[in-house]
Symmetry: C2
Subunit: 207 residues, 2 copies
């Protein structure tokens, strides 16, 4: 496995390549890649050496080849069917987001407990009852899930997702979830992000 800090930067290099591709560039320098990831050029060269990708001094990296390497390393040749659990405020926004589909992550089913939401649609995706979760996850070969439910039910939701065959979870609920070691779980905690900004703001004030 690559170091997590490296893994987090690979998608940013991919985005830099997409921008370079728009301008029909044949090569891209480590400096240009570095600007997209907020690191220095030496870190870029180190990250890419893990993939066996080496640039040419003074010219940089072949954009086509590097893109292929990065997509392979990130497992992006595969498309993913994604479940959205919780069709509330945040869930509806996630269901509308075209950025997921563009990158091969297709929200193919949503789930909720609220009878007023079940049977509805978010941007063409049907909202099922959470009672149908196991059947729909298996029928639609869903392996990834976005959890946008209240924190109090997040653990039981993740347990039923894992039981049904989901192996990757992006959790938005402010709760620490326990999963088996072979399940990948990432957490986005927006309140924590603002508290981190507050730390840097307060350090500026006390300088």
């Amino acid at each position: 496995l690559l170091p997590e800090a490296t893994v987090k930067r690979l998608p940013l290099y991919l985005r830099a390549l997409a921008d370079a591709g728009d301008q029909q560039q044949a090569t891209i320098s480590s400096e240009e890649l570095a600007a997209h990831a907020g690191v220095n050029a030496a870190q870029v060269r180190k990250d890419l050496s893990y993939l066996g990708s080496y640039g040419t001094r003074g010219i940089g990296y072949d954009t086509g080849l590097l893109r292929q390497h990065l997509r392979h390393e990130l497992g992006l040749e595969k498309e993913y069917n994604v479940a959205l659990v919780g069709a509330g405020n945040l869930g509806r926004a996630l269901g509308h987001y075209r950025g997921f589909t563009e990158r091969g992550f297709h929200v193919v089913a949503a789930f909720d407990t609220d009878p007023a939401k079940v049977g509805g649609f978010i941007e063409g995706t049907e909202v099922f009852s959470v009672r149908d979760l196991a059947r729909v996850v298996k029928d639609r070969a869903i392996t990834m899930a976005l959890v946008a439910t209240p924190a109090a039910v997040a653990q039981q939701v993740v347990d039923s997702l894992v039981e049904a065959g989901v192996t990757s979870v992006l959790n938005f609920a402010p709760a620490v979830l326990n999963v088996a070691p072979d399940i990948s779980i990432r957490r986005v905690d927006l309140a924590v992000e603002l508290q981190i900004l507050s730390y840097y703001d307060s350090s500026r004030r006390h300088e």
Copy 2:
């Protein structure tokens, strides 16, 4: 300044204390704090030693005192007035989120360029025209902003926010933004989160 990895964990220790407070605990162990932050107990003790917080062997940390230390270090005694720029799908979800207000981050104004949205409200917060941004940011002493606009306009939006006096930005648009060194900017990129999950999924398959 503390190491960034430490700064990211402090809000998680604060959340652990909130949970412990609900159960009327007078002390909390480093193991319990570690479980909330996904690290080991030694890392917790190291992080807290930066704040001059030391637990008692076998008993742990005084919950009241530690909470005060953490809130002070994170600058949370201050309340923040926050601007929301972009009142679209994501912006509306962010405007509804009670988790911000509960922690002292108050969304006091929203901004958009779409005439159909201007003059409307998100959960009691008025949506202004982006032309009024400088005036409203100053009038309402706004120092923090959530940017939920398309990527193409994110840089110009941040420039006008900074000019009006905002010093901290949480950016959701998939764009690399340039700001002066005294401005704090954090980025949440949900598509990158899914690509990271895809990396770990693909490494599992190739084991």
